[in-house]
């Protein structure tokens, strides 16, 4: 795994600090923007509300005056006490009272058959004229208050008959001499427009005045005036939010709403408020960027001050890191030398920093501990090497205890033996042995000491020595084994136990007596490859029970019979598939021997075991002893 390239302490500190500061500064900018923005919007709402209220008040002064004049005239007409001259005089006074009053029209129900009378101030003189030939009864100013029987402020209308101007009329139902009629007082649309058009707020903020039907009366775009409604504008711009705003504005409500940017129209805030008299709407519109211009300035200032602070902090960290690096450099070099094995390296003078002092003490302690540890390892290694040498020496002794296969009696009248011992390690726990007890008696043994290593090897050595010392004069293998058992129980501190086959052959008669103490079976192969297997054990393993009962078995050997004994290293050899070599394969080898010569027999078995087993996983000693009984004759043992 490739090692990640490490960064310097300064760069790491700056990266972490940068990330934290960026987060903190961004958060502070966003929070400032939100909260200050809210406050500024709240202030703007108050300011715009005050302005709208003020402008509406200006507009409504004349409207209210007109309403009062209309109601007074209505009362006078209802009384019917004024003659034509007095009425003219009264209306003349009204023109003086209210300079926005342009004309007055008194229209009676058409059934009366009298045309409406229009009063106008022309060249400083009030005149009256009859409006003949007009379908006045189908005009909004007449028809709506007539049908609803309620006073009515008209939409702006173009007066082609008298003034030639766009008027806004206040109409109210009247009774004249018992007949219904409508009284209409007119004021010019300019009186509304002038006030609304005066609104200049922020850089480009403006006011729009909408009628009940949404008709745009004032707007910076002249082409929209008295032509488009606010809903036309919304439809043309394809902006449903503008239509929603229009509906709110025309419903007589007061509000403060933002319309997002769309179709090249910048995001704007609308403060809208209705006129109390006729429910028209005055809306003050300010582009958001102007409304929040101060916020933008504030955020830039904040940004640059934070950027400055950020730069100073990072610079400070960088300088501190460089100083720290300078201090740490000799320490790092010392650590590097210590790391490469030079534990004697002296530490440089550490800075007077608490953490550095603790670190220095810890490193000194570590140096001492490492020196002790290395010394211990060296001693242990020496001891180990010494023991290893002794083990190698013991192994040589052990191998010398085992009979050499050279100088065996080869005469067909005698007996021929061949043994193999292949320890799993330097020294093993298996043994085989054969020797003459006397001129006519041949003793052989094969044993497997449980366990491995030195203890097993020493036990094996002791058993070999013991057999050689107690076997002479004995012709009963069970008695020899009993003595071995007793010896093992009494002397073997590690409680190792031993499986063993011990056999004694009377060379003159071919009679063999053997005892099997927990060992693998004994095989006898005759020259015709007929195989006899002696699986019965005559006791448990030796060194296990104190009062062990051991039996024996007698077998008659024919000349040419080959006795094969081996240890479980053969039968329990394991293949790479974790399969045991087993008895079947062993017997197959014995059945297929080309010759019954002991050396060939032993090597054939070993070859098969090697071919079968996975050498890497072979952990047990292998011992094979093959003895061919050649018939009555003398044996010469070297």
């Amino acid at each position: 795994m490739p090692r990640k390239k490490s960064r310097s302490l300064a760069s790491q500190l700056i990266i972490v600090t940068f990330a934290v500061l960026v987060f903190v500064f961004a958060a502070s900018l966003l929070i400032t923007r939100y909260f200050v923005g809210q406050v500024m919007l709240e202030h703007a709402q108050n300011d715009l509300g005050f302005l709208a209220h003020n402008k509406i008040h200006q507009i409504e002064i004349d409207m209210r005056k007109l309403e009062i004049q209309g109601k007074m005239l209505k009362e006078l007409l209802a009384l019917g006490t004024l003659d034509e001259r007095e009425l003219l005089s009264f209306i003349d006074n009204q023109f003086i009272e209210n300079n926005q009053l342009r004309s007055v029209c008194i229209a009676q129900d058409p059934v009366v058959g009298k045309p409406p009378v229009l009063y106008q101030l022309l060249a400083g003189k009030t005149i009256s004229k009859r409006m003949d030939g007009t379908d006045y009864q189908f005009m909004d100013w007449y028809q709506i208050p007539d049908l609803t029987n309620w006073e009515y402020w008209s939409e702006p209308w173009y007066d082609t008959y008298a003034t030639g101007r766009i008027l806004v009329s206040y109409s109210l139902p009247i009774q004249m001499a018992g007949n219904r009629g409508i009284l209409r007082l007119d004021m010019p649309l300019e009186s509304f427009q002038t006030v609304a058009q005066q609104v200049k707020i922020y850089k480009t903020g403006y006011a729009i005045l909408l009628t009940n039907n949404g008709t745009i009366v004032t707007h910076p775009a002249d082409s929209l005036l008295m032509n488009y409604t606010f809903f036309d504008l919304a439809e043309e711009l394809g902006d449903p939010t503008l239509r929603d705003l229009g509906r709110k504005m025309c419903s007589g409500r007061t509000g403060f709403l933002q319309i997002p940017e769309q179709n090249k129209h910048p995001s704007s805030w609308y403060y809208y408020m209705p006129l109390q008299t006729n429910q028209w709407t005055l809306a003050i519109v300010v582009p958001e960027k102007e409304l929040l211009a101060d916020l933008k300035k504030l955020l830039w200032m904040l940004f640059f001050s934070e950027l400055g602070a950020f730069t100073v902090i990072c610079g400070g960290i960088y300088v501190s890191s460089l100083r720290l690096n300078h201090t740490l450099k000799p320490i790092v070099e010392s650590f590097t030398r210590i790391g490469s094995g030079d534990f004697q390296t002296p530490l440089p003078e550490l800075p007077h920093i608490r953490e550095a002092e603790i670190l220095g003490e810890a490193v000194t302690a570590m140096q001492n501990a490492l020196q002790k540890y290395v010394e211990n390892i060296r001693l242990v290694t020496d001891e180990k090497n010494k023991i290893l040498n002794e083990v190698i020496f013991a192994s040589a002794i052990q191998r010398n205890l085992i009979p050499k296969n050279t100088g065996q009696p080869l005469s067909p009248d005698h007996i021929s033996s061949f043994g193999i011992l292949e320890p799993a390690g330097e020294i093993g726990g298996d043994l085989y042995d054969y020797f003459l007890l006397d001129q006519d008696t041949y003793c052989f043994a094969i044993a497997d000491v449980a366990g491995k290593g030195i203890v097993a090897a020493m036990t094996m050595t002791m058993v070999t020595t013991l057999l050689r010392s107690i076997a002479p004069g004995q012709n009963q293998p069970e008695l020899i084994l009993k003595k071995v058992n007793t010896f093992l129980i009494e002397n073997n501190l590690e409680s190792n136990f031993v499986t063993i086959i011990l056999g004694i052959i009377d060379l003159t008669t071919g009679r063999m007596t053997f005892a099997n103490a927990g060992h693998v079976p004994l095989y006898i192969v005759n020259p015709a490859r007929k195989l006899r297997k002696y699986s019965k054990t005559h006791s448990t393993a030796l060194g296990f029970l104190k009062n062990l009962k051991i039996g024996s078995e007698k077998v008659s050997l024919e000349p040419g019979d080959t006795i094969v004994v081996l240890t479980d290293g053969v039968t329990e050899a394991m293949s790479s598939d974790e399969d045991f070599f087993g008895y079947e394969r062993l017997e197959a080898v014995l059945n297929s021997l080309p010759q019954t010569h002991p050396e060939i027999t032993a090597n054939a078995i070993l070859t098969e075991v090697h071919a079968f087993s996975n050498q890497a996983t072979h952990k047990d000693d292998i011992s094979i002893l093959a003895i061919e009984y050649l018939g009555n004759g003398r044996l010469s043992i070297p």
Binding site: Q143, L147, E155, N212, Y228, F231, R243, C250
Partner: protein
């Protein structure tokens, strides 16, 4: 979305078909006149080339996209190409189309077929040159919140109906549907409805209905009775002249009709250009030039005009009979005029 696309595609196909039919129609017209021309020989032809027939056309209402076909025929030179010099007069409520025809101040105008048939009965005989609106654009609308949810609810309500010939169609509808209401004559103002002075109002889909929407009312707030959707789909506006003028100028009438239809097709294919020309004329006469509203009008009228399988401008015998049946039923007319006499171009159609 899919329906909208399909409708647009269908209209494009119809436009193409109508253009092809119109071309055939124009060719047929010229072939029809060919023998007469050949008799007058070259002098006559020269005279026809150099002589311009003057026609005064009076729109039935103020200048607006309702007459965009005439504006475009004039602007694109379709009249001039046929040797016509067309004067587009100023119409509106103060300039009655029938009065102008009667008094000889105008030659060709635009009238509802109801009005044309009735006027024909009463005054100078008329000739119907072309059927423009193949569908009925009349509607009654009112606020749902006044308790309107079905036709039965109309009974007893105050209904604003246009005065004179313009409201005749609605009056017949109410009679035919046996709906007794309180009729209030109004002068084309939607303000009565908006100020709740009346319960329902007579509107055209292409005009007043849009003004109501543009006063902030949403369609789902409105109770709408479109005549054409309730079995009352009578054709509406058409081109009309006097019998006298037609008989004196048959070729000019045919040429005027053909050029006007060509103008309509051009307007539908080039709506922005048609709107520019319409707004130019409106401004020339100091009329409020609301492009948004005129765009709506042109779009709706396109649907009204391009809705006859036989082609643009055709008055089918079936449509004519349907209108006459209704008028006879309510005794508005006594005897119907022969279809071919009323609409002489029926022969050309064949």
């Amino acid at each position: 979305m899919f329906l909208a696309c399909s409708a647009n595609s269908l209209r494009r196909v119809l436009l193409f078909i109508y253009s092809a039919l119109l071309l055939l129609f124009l060719t047929a017209c010229r072939d029809h006149d060919a023998p007469a021309k050949s008799e007058t020989k070259s002098d006559a032809m020269i005279q026809e080339d150099t002589t311009t027939v003057k026609i005064r056309f009076l729109p039935k209402w103020l200048h607006q996209a309702q007459f965009a076909g005439v504006y475009m025929a004039n602007a694109k030179g379709y009249y001039r190409d046929r040797g016509l010099s067309v004067e587009i007069q100023y119409g509106g409520p103060d300039h009655s189309a029938t009065t102008s025809l009667r008094d000889g101040f105008t030659d060709i105008t635009c009238l509802s077929i109801f009005h044309a048939i009735r006027y024909n009965e009463q005054e100078k005989p008329l000739v119907y040159l072309a059927q423009l609106f193949q569908k009925n654009p009349n509607m009654l609308i009112g606020r749902k919140r006044t308790g309107l949810s079905s036709l039965e609810d109309i009974k007893g309500k105050k209904i604003g109906i246009w005065g004179g010939e313009y409201g005749e169609h609605v009056t017949l509808f109410l009679k035919d549907m046996d709906l007794e209401t309180e009729s209030v004559r109004v002068n084309w103002s939607v303000n009565l409805l908006l100020s709740n002075a009346i319960d329902l109002s007579n509107v055209m889909t292409y005009n007043e209905y849009h003004r109501v929407l543009m006063a902030g009312l949403d369609p789902d707030e409105l109770f709408i009775v479109p005549f054409r959707d309730i079995g009352y789909d009578m054709v509406d506006d058409g081109l009309v002249t006097t019998k006298e003028f037609y008989e004196n100028n048959p070729q000019a009438c045919l040429d005027f009709t053909a050029a006007t239809m060509q103008g309509w097709l051009y307007a539908f294919e080039h709506p922005e250009e048609a709107l520019d020309e319409t707004l130019r004329i409106m401004r020339q006469y100091h009329l409020p030039a609301n492009r948004n509203h005129q765009a709506w009008m042109l779009e709706v009228i396109k649907d009204l005009v391009l809705d006859h399988p036989e082609g643009i401008g055709v008055l089918s015998r079936n449509d004519y009979d349907k209108v006459c049946d209704l008028m006879e039923k309510h005794k508005v007319i006594r005897n119907r005029i022969d279809y071919e006499r009323f609409y002489p171009f029926a022969k050309e159609k064949k």
